[in-house]
Amino acid sequence: MRVIQFREAIREAMNEEMRRDENVFLMGEEVAEYNGAYKVSQGMLDEFGPNRVYDTPIAELGFAGLGVGAGMNGLRPIIEFMTFNFSLVAIDQIINSSAKMLAMSGGQYSVPIVFRGPTGSAGQLGATHSSNFENWFANTPGLKVVVPSTPYDAKGLLKASIRDNDPVIFMESEMMYNDKGEVPEGEYLLPIGVADIKRKGKDVTIISFGKAMKIALEAAEELAKDGIEAEVIDLRTVRPIDYATCLESVKKTNRCVVVEEANPLAAISSELTYHIQRNAFDYLDAPVIRVNSMDIPLSFSAPYIEATLPNVKRTLEAVKQVMYKK
């Protein structure tokens, strides 16, 4: 099968949907003439022209709100944040306006919008550029939150997100744009809210999503060398969460570790752990353990990053712990 980059998969999804529906447009900082800060939207201005691909000034609150209003009035905006770290300037429009609109208007106004861009850490950028917002947005009813980990999932899920009639937060990573993966030529969509078992196993369940999936899969690879067969679940969507797939796996393996890059308090891992203990208590042979970033901001220097972010080593330790191995 054809192999393409993560950024190309996202670009293809946007291109295909923009060809299909003229109400879809792309707006964000440096997306048009500069071809995207991370070259995701390369060539899109050339193909679609300035009425479909818009560069904005640095005015996140303004253009996020523009997107919400345009969505209420019949368009289907794709609003790119250079990173979700900058979406904080715009969070009022995302949460108070887009997420609550349908309920607040008694079902009269929906907002079919996609807010997309990278989330989380991306090397040595310091605290203002390194936060994870998956759990922040997942906490908000009215939003859907998609966090793919492969080019294949990214393309199918972004196409579904653009066609979705509710507001969708679609989260990528600067550190994944170069990743390559198999993506078929033809059109396909993937359903929002369905997890994917990325590796089959029977001994322990590792649940993760987004960039942290790399840690989960690498840990599983290591564990296999010790004869431990980990089942690795990629949530792909953190709102809604596919609890059923997680529970089914845990009922089989009886052990679970959650790997997530966000800070731990009120994280997706906390949420999963609640549902697992609530619905699979009798199946658990050990408490669920999570591997999150430490409960601190992500500082600049490499030793701080090493001490803060989740990694394979901590994941292996967690698995050993739920398996009661030394």
Binding site: A59, Q124, S301
Partner: protein
């Protein structure tokens, strides 16, 4: 070297110390950042690294117009301001490296330099965020009854953030002692001022708030000093904020990986022809403020300072990763979630 003339001589407006400071501080900023750029290429410095080369007068000229008790805040293009204010170049270089001896112990990195001793209140990574903060810093000075003010630098791109406009209005409303400086270098990443607004005369934005507002040649350190001194006088008298647009230029890319397709070579060369450092050097020599030998001595001194800074950064220890838990709260026994 251009001929000396009495005409240029009469143009000398400031003291020998002031000219010397301008030359020396701008040279330090320039050489420090040229070195930082090289070290970035060698991957000694990582992450984002935004160089100020070409814009040095915007910091240097303001420093001589203010007092040591005035407060400073700026965005992520923030190596030059503290260098001019007297922060140890070694500590800044160590910060860029991520060493424990850096200005923030390697916590903030290039975009988040701080130096409380010199009232340099950051280096801020979110475009526009420093502007309401700068307002608040000035507000606190007035509240405490001092005569100090805050000078708050921002880029031309930052001017498009809503928070900036809220801050301008609040500053006029409360007559806050703050000098808002737009370092208009023509571009916000790859977006020219022209492509981000119909209002290209950025200083005129102040007029919407009845704020005294002026455009200043940002390549000319004397003009900058003069404009800031006037603004400071207004602020200290209780008349509130001033908006200054420094028309300047960055010679390098936005950060370290910028193909710069949005501008022409000619444009860059044109601005280099009005280089702030060369201009002040010419004024100094034309008017016998310093001799060529004295300038050469300064060059040597600065070269050594930069070499020492690199050596210090190289030889400094890495921080202990566990120190990431320090400085998150002042409460010493704060109960972090540990599992």
């Amino acid at each position: 070297m251009a001929k000396k003339s009495t005409a240029t001589k009469s143009k000398v407006k400031y003291s020998k110390e002031t000219y010397t400071f301008w030359y020396e501080s701008m040279l330090l900023m320039r050489r420090f950042e040229e070195k930082a750029g090289q070290l970035y290429g060698q991957q000694k410095i990582r992450g984002f690294c935004h160089l100020y080369i070409g814009q040095e007068a915007c910091a240097s000229g303001a420093i001589t117009a203010l007092t040591k008790d005035d407060k400073w805040i700026t965005a992520y293009r923030d190596h030059a301001h503290p260098l001019g204010l007297g922060t140890d170049p070694g500590a800044i270089m160590a910060e860029l490296f991520g060493k424990a001896t850096g200005t923030t112990k390697g916590k903030g990195g290039s975009m988040h330099i701080f130096d409380k001793e010199r009232n340099f209140m950051g280096g801020h990574g979110i475009v526009g965020a420093q502007v309401p903060m700068g307002l608040g810093i000035g507000f606190a000075e007035k509240y405490k009854g001092t005569k100090n003010l805050c000078i708050c630098h921002m880029g031309d791109g930052a001017v498009r953030q809503g928070a900036v406009h809220e801050a301008f209005n609040l500053a006029m409303l409360y007559k806050t002692p703050v000098i808002f400086v737009i370092e208009n270098n023509g571009y916000a990443m790859g977006t020219s001022v022209k492509r981000s607004s119909n209002v290209e005369e950025l200083y005129t934005i102040g007029e919407a708030y009845d704020m005294p507002a002026f455009a200043v040649d940002g390549m000319n350190v004397e003009d900058i000093h003069e404009a800031v001194a006037e603004a400071a006088e207004r602020a200290r008298k209780g008349d509130g904020p001033t908006l200054l647009e420094f028309r300047t230029y960055r010679y390098k890319g936005h950060s370290m990986s910028d193909p710069q397709k949005y501008r022409t070579r000619e444009e860059v060369e044109e601005y280099k022809g009005r280089d702030p450092l060369e201009q002040v050097k010419k004024t100094i020599l034309d008017n016998d403020i310093l001799t060529q030998d004295e300038l050469t001595e300064i060059d040597k001194k600065v070269k050594k300072q930069v070499e020492d800074a690199v050596k210090f950064a190289e030889e400094s220890p890495w921080p202990d990763g566990q120190d990431a838990f320090k400085d998150v709260y002042l409460q010493e026994d704060y109960p972090f979630v540990m599992e």
